[in-house]
Symmetry: C2
Subunit: 475 residues, 2 copies
């Protein structure tokens, strides 16, 4: 409660300072807001509209000390006296209790938050990239000064997910966290599924409706989901996992044909973030990965459409849990930010402290090549005698067991049209679980077969384990 009870130290907060004693006993909790875009402007609105309720919940008014933006003239909706372009100056103001960071990106957010934490300001951040990359440094700074560091809004927008994982399940052993954590890609894949559109058209539609940014790289190439996976894995497995530790594939290469193939198998395609604790020959390890995968249409995640997010958590004692809600959007993300802000502010008032960083387990990250997954492979072949045997032999040579194989195109496996040149056909192969490296090597070897014209597509298949059966699914 370092800065409670003092009068405002800055001219910019003179008006707010005069109101500091509304509760009679405790001064206001002063908030520095860094960034005022889609989320920040909603935070400003809600702080104003809910001022009385927030004061009652915190035990003191929660007031803006200032808002750091790049171009003040672009924020006519915000009281001009609160705006500043000097973020560093705002963060170091002595009357600031909590810093809310909604700038995004690594710098200058990193330096600003490290400064804030070192000086005992609590931090609330929605910055998944920063948390995934610099989580350890931020946690260390918070630990040393006793400040709070909250970042619920960095993963899955409004869905309460980090607090349940970090606190509610703190007495359990989490085995898996898996789900849909990027609304943009889910919107695009849902559109491809429902309209039969190709990737490019669906992306354009997403951009037009505001679900995709002008540069969609962070979303469609899986960087956003990978950052979130790193944060989830770090909390779930008490091990520092960075975005660089997360295996990542985006959705750019998913075709309308892939979606159709998935449908033919009773599946749909979703971009999944999967974090698991696995047992290896050398002991426990963490796997964290992001890729598009086929999942059964009967799985609850299959019906999560548009910009919604949903995450399954499986723990030894708790069993399967699901969390569902809107994973992005200004008010939704602002809700998560304000929940954290109330917690940080309340701790300032009552002298409490939020949960500490917990990374005692130091588990190694399992290389993607060792991860056991299943592949769905479309192999374009020359439709002639022996082709299936040749393909099957390649799988067997790599110790990859085939679950199902189906030939599409003219004739059967033994069809030889007698003209010396076989017609084209496609073998649709779904494997059992095998190490990813073995599956990759199999696909590579297939491409070298004389009877194979090419590997048309590869998608992983995830049945997402127990939750499928445990849930039952819609009747």
């Amino acid at each position: 409660m370092s800065d409670m009870g003092r009068s405002g130290a800055s001219g910019a907060t003179g008006g707010a300072a005069a109101e500091r004693s509304r509760t009679g006993e405790i001064g206001a909790v002063k908030v520095a807001l860094l960034g005022c875009g889609v989320v920040g402007s909603q935070v400003v609105r809600l702080l104003d509209e809910q001022a009385d309720e927030l004061a009652a919940r915190v035990g003191a008014p929660v007031e803006l000390a200032g808002i750091a933006v790049r171009r003040p003239q672009r924020h006519p909706e915000v009281p001009a006296e609160l705006l500043t372009t000097d973020a560093a100056g705002l963060v170091s103001r002595p009357d600031v209790d909590v810093v809310v960071e909604l700038m995004g990106g690594i710098e200058p957010a990193r330096d600003l938050l490290l400064d804030a934490l070192k000086n005992g300001r609590s931090v609330v951040s929605a910055n998944k990239a920063l948390l995934a990359e610099e989580g350890e440094a931020l946690a260390a700074a918070a630990r040393e000064s006793g400040a709070d560091l909250y970042y619920e809004a960095s993963v899955a927008g409004a869905i309460p997910l980090l607090r349940p994982i970090q606190q509610s399940l703190a007495g359990d052993r989490i085995r898996r966290v898996a789900g849909i954590v990027n609304g943009t890609t889910n919107f695009i894949l849902s559109a491809m599924e429902s309209t039969g559109a190709g990737y490019a058209d669906a992306l354009e539609e997403a951009g037009r409706l505001g679900y995709a940014e002008a540069d969609p790289t962070a979303d469609v190439d899986g960087y956003d989901a990978a950052s979130k996976a790193a944060i989830l894995a770090s909390l779930a497995f008490h091990t520092r996992v960075t975005a660089a530790d997360v295996y990542r594939e985006g959705i750019r290469d998913v075709t309308a044909a892939d979606i159709a193939s998935a449908r033919a198998l009773g599946c749909t395609v979703k971009l999944l973030a999967i974090c698991e604790q696995v047992d290896t020959a050398d002991g426990a390890a963490v796997s964290a990965r992001v890729y598009p995968a086929m999942i059964p249409r009967s799985h609850p995640l299959a019906s999560v459409s548009g910009a919604f997010n949903a995450v399954f958590v499986e723990a030894d004692a708790a069993g399967p849990l699901m969390f569902y809600g809107q994973g992005a959007g200004g008010p939704q993300t602002a809700s998560a930010v304000l929940g954290d802000l109330v917690a940080a502010a309340r701790n300032k008032v009552i002298g409490g402290r939020g949960p500490r960083d917990s990374a005692y387990a130091h588990l190694p990250v399992q290389p993607m090549g060792d991860v056991r997954t299943r592949y769905h492979v479309n192999v374009d072949v020359h439709d002639r005698a022996g082709v299936l045997a040749a393909v099957a032999t390649v799988f067997a040579d790599h110790d990859v067991s085939i679950a199902t194989v189906k030939q599409e195109g003219r004739g059967g496996d033994d069809a030889d049209h007698g003209d010396g040149d076989a017609s084209p056909a496609t073998l649709v192969v779904v494997t059992h679980e095998a190490p990813d490296a073995a599956l990759r090597a199999t696909v590579e070897a297939l491409s070298g077969l004389e009877s194979v014209r090419g590997v048309a597509s590869i998608l992983r298949v995830e049945d997402l384990g127990r939750p499928v059966s445990a849930l039952g699914g819609p009747q």
Copy 2:
């Protein structure tokens, strides 16, 4: 951290006391466990199996100081030196830091926990009846001494629900919390749905499989769900709501015919707990109610079967959220207990404090008669001319608007068989929303109609608002 660092004060914990310095700096956090049944024995097991992990997460070992039970000879699985029949003596032992209460019932749990809290011991409880009835007294005791009071396990077993409502959504306005919070009744209704069995047979089956207790009153009459609704409403709306404030109907009167009627309408029957903040002519009010209701089969809650629980939360900024998981069971409930225990123990170690009770809003509870719901009514009538008009007039006289009406049985509304005695038929009426009192009065007036043979069944219909459409539902 009142009791940290001292050596064990009791002969019964001599063994544990010797280990108190495993972390080198901080003594063990000592736990008094009250009750050792289905959940308690799992807490004992998990504390033992996960001792190292829990110590790492808490920052100090978490050790049992003692276990209070009624009949020590019934617990051969627990170290005999920990067992005691003197719960009051255990709670007042000076080396106890946290009291975990799994006894259930009001007394002696109430007095024991009030004593513990007044003496600065933090409390973790799974006792929904106690929290729903004496939540205010317990919260006051915790507030005065600065002790923590956690009770995540009291609602929806393993599902993290209270922490998200109380903390993650602390910066938002929650409008509705609605869902399935009793596994026994959900099992029975699911069985009736899937097998066509009547209530009595399904209850017997539930008992045989361990889903229903020998005296199922608390579950099937809705008392259990009402306690949970009181807890949820209190947290969501910052208003003290007790079980007595919750309108309650159980499932005893749900018949196989009701389930069949629901199916004919594309619905299924679930026992719902619904907590809402509503706007009335006199300002905001809280509605909390528990009853069986028809919900659309396309709603995600409809596919929650067996002993699973699922709860929707709607907040202004966050939008709709869903939480899903196992709502009962030893390990599942123990997971929630241990999450709270880690939080309470960590606070002891780092000097933190959990969230305070927040009941500043003091909203009135809306009388059930004022709650706007929809009725599905089966009216047995004499199938003769004018009967539909007579029935419709009764609804109109009570300002209840009919959404659909269907006649089942021989002939149409105007059929008169000319023998002076009309054949029986049934009118199936579904209303629009109306105040419950008006609906009740309508039903009562119907029974007095000369052409009505009786009102065969009444069930409310809930479309559960926005989440239905927002979710999309399974494709």
